[in-house]
């Protein structure tokens, strides 16, 4: 039991929160970066290798396109259906291979990315599916390559829903980052468990909740701002652009 009347209590709390927040931001930040770098192309490939997509026939082979699409779809579904706590443990050998250890904040980035990538890839897929095929046709009529279509049409046109999807993704990463305390990943979740739960400090628990809440609120506000900024250009009365983007749930 920690004594709140102890003169060292508040500075101690502050110190612990500061370190915890730093670790959380580090884990979430790097995991988010990895998620964007891998999840965005994954989502693009997922949607473009579908029948009728611009990558329907990679290297001229329709069969190859179908295989790539099926495999990625399967991997994404698998990644999204395994509960995080199990995924984290199951990935230990892989984590050790990449990071050298499976303990600590850096090691926690691997399972965090692994759970967020398929999630974000689906968000990207859904966002791009909403892009009017007429735009792709227009670009093709101008002599666009497949790369042009992806980089100049599909991704820019789907940017607004993708940003909202990214904000949902980052909130999930923050959620899961609280769980990596179980592999000594550190972070705010770890603070809540070690101080709030194991040492019955309600103040620690409440402080952690407030900090996480504030982080999520700030990120959400930033995402909404940018999503609106890009969406304001596309207030077109076409109903297809109005569909919801946050219909996916994490396992």
């Amino acid at each position: 039991m920690i004594d709140p009347t102890d003169p060292g209590f508040w500075p101690g709390l502050f110190q612990v929160l500061l370190v915890g927040t730093g670790q959380t931001l580090y884990m979430v930040g790097v995991a988010l970066l990895v998620t964007i770098i891998i999840g965005l192309p994954l989502g693009v490939v997922l949607v473009t290798t579908e029948p009728g997509g611009v990558l329907e026939r990679p290297f001229g082979s329709r069969a190859l396109g179908r295989v790539i699409n099926r495999v990625l779809d399967f991997v994404v579904n698998l990644g999204r259906s395994v509960p995080f706590i199990i995924l984290m443990v199951a990935l230990i050998p892989f984590t050790r291979l990449i990071v050298g250890t499976f303990i600590g904040s850096t090691a926690a980035i691997v399972p965090l990315s692994a759970v967020a990538i398929p999630f974000f890839a689906r968000m990207v897929e859904i966002s791009i599916k909403e892009v009017d095929n007429g735009l792709v046709e227009a670009a093709e009529s101008l002599g666009a390559t497949r790369w042009h279509i992806v980089a100049k049409v599909l991704v820019p046109e789907a940017l607004s829903p993708m940003i909202l999807g990214l904000s949902t993704t980052v909130t999930s990463i923050i959620n899961f980052s609280a769980m990596v305390g179980t592999v000594a990943g550190g972070g705010l979740g770890d603070v809540a468990i070690r101080y709030g739960y194991q040492r019955y400090s309600v103040i620690h628990m409440v402080a952690v909740i407030i900090v996480i809440f504030v982080i999520v609120m700030i990120l959400q506000a930033i995402a909404t701002h940018f999503a609106k900024k890009f969406a304001r250009r596309s207030i077109d009365p076409t109903p297809t652009e109005r569909k919801s983007h946050a219909t996916l749930q994490l396992p």
Binding site: G143, K152, R233, S234, D236
Partner: protein, 327 residues
């Protein structure tokens, strides 16, 4: 300039295909405005999409400006498409880009240097009358303005052919006129060959030099408008001069007389009354400017049966008038 020869295209499963185009052959001369008319579902959209191979035909060849597109590989096809501009019914502008950005998209794809892009896009926006809207986003524009951006984008890479896929169908009548006028101006000033599809006869009347009628994936008739209007039984000509249903009075003959070119200014009815002593009634008349010259069709009722009026009809025909007995 554009030659389709025996182009066929079906959709759906192999065992129950939906035939969109059935051995369509079409010839569009350099510098003309050619309209393909047809009901929805006739295969118009598929037809125009085969010209730049957005839709690859199952069989047949497509030749544009002397290049057989159906024989080209991907890279050459992309290069060839840059000389074929296309505009769309729903404009298909990128909402994430400004007006200028949309025009520059065409130039980026064509690999034009950024300074040159800015210069060329300004020039083209000037041409379509949107210089003051360069920084606006498509959502801030009216339908007519959006289509002007579409036209500017299609013209950016200096094509020799413009394809128009129902470009004016989503617009109100007045805007339609201004867009058609713009297409005509482009055709005249830049010497662009235009192939358009439409379900509105008015569009053909207003700007086309030639037209073809597409029905169930087949070209039923086609040719220069000036020739079509003097072709007996031409359905396109009938569509151009809609006189409505024939209301026949028993014991009378109803004839349609088509005037064109040199015959338009002759006092035909007065002559008919004078020479043959007939009490002519006018049931209907349409005068249009087609292909730059006056043409029209008049529906007359003559007393007596067709046999009794044979001499009068023969007289009219001898004056190079197209006379059709309709009742």
């Amino acid at each position: 300039m554009i030659t389709l020869s025996s182009v066929s295209k079906s959709f759906g499963r192999a065992d129950s295909p939906v035939v969109a185009l059935d051995a369509v052959s079409l010839e569009v001369a350099r510098g003309e405005i050619f309209g393909v008319v047809g009901q929805s579902g006739a295969g118009k959209s598929t037809l125009i999409r085969t010209v730049n191979l957005l839709e690859r035909p199952d069989s047949g060849t497509v030749t544009v400006d002397g290049r057989e597109l159906t024989a080209l590989g991907d890279t050459d096809l992309r290069a060839a498409r840059r000389s074929i501009g296309m505009i769309f019914q729903h404009f298909n502008l990128l909402s994430s880009r400004t007006v200028r950005g949309n025009v520059e998209l065409a130039l980026e794809i064509a690999g034009v240097h950024s300074k040159e892009r800015a210069r060329r896009s300004s020039e083209i926006l000037d041409l379509v009358g949107l210089a003051d809207k360069a920084a606006a986003y498509p959502s801030q524009l009216s339908g007519g303005q959006k289509q002007r951006v579409g036209i500017a984008r299609a013209l950016a890479s200096q094509p020799s052919v413009l394809l128009s896929d129902e470009a004016s169908s989503a617009l109100d009548p007045e805007t339609t006129r201004s867009i058609l006028q713009l297409i005509k101006t482009i055709n005249a000033e830049l010497g662009l060959t235009v192939l358009l599809i439409t379900h509105e006869m008015d569009v053909v009347k207003t700007i086309c030099d030639s037209a073809a009628l597409l029905e169930s994936g087949r070209i039923v008739e086609g040719g220069r408008l000036v020739d079509l209007i003097s072709t007996p039984g031409s359905r396109l000509a009938h569509e151009l001069f809609p006189l409505g249903e024939v209301v026949a009075t028993p014991g009378a003959t109803v004839i349609d007389i088509t005037f064109s070119g040199g015959t338009a200014d002759r006092p035909v009815i007065a002559q008919l009354a004078r020479t043959h002593g007939l009490d002519v009634s006018i049931l209907g008349a349409v005068i249009e400017t087609i292909g730059g010259s006056q043409a029209g069709r008049t529906r007359l009722e003559l007393p007596g049966s067709a046999a009794e009026n044979e001499a009068a009809i023969a007289d009219l025909r001898s004056q190079n008038l197209l006379v059709e007995v309709v009742a």
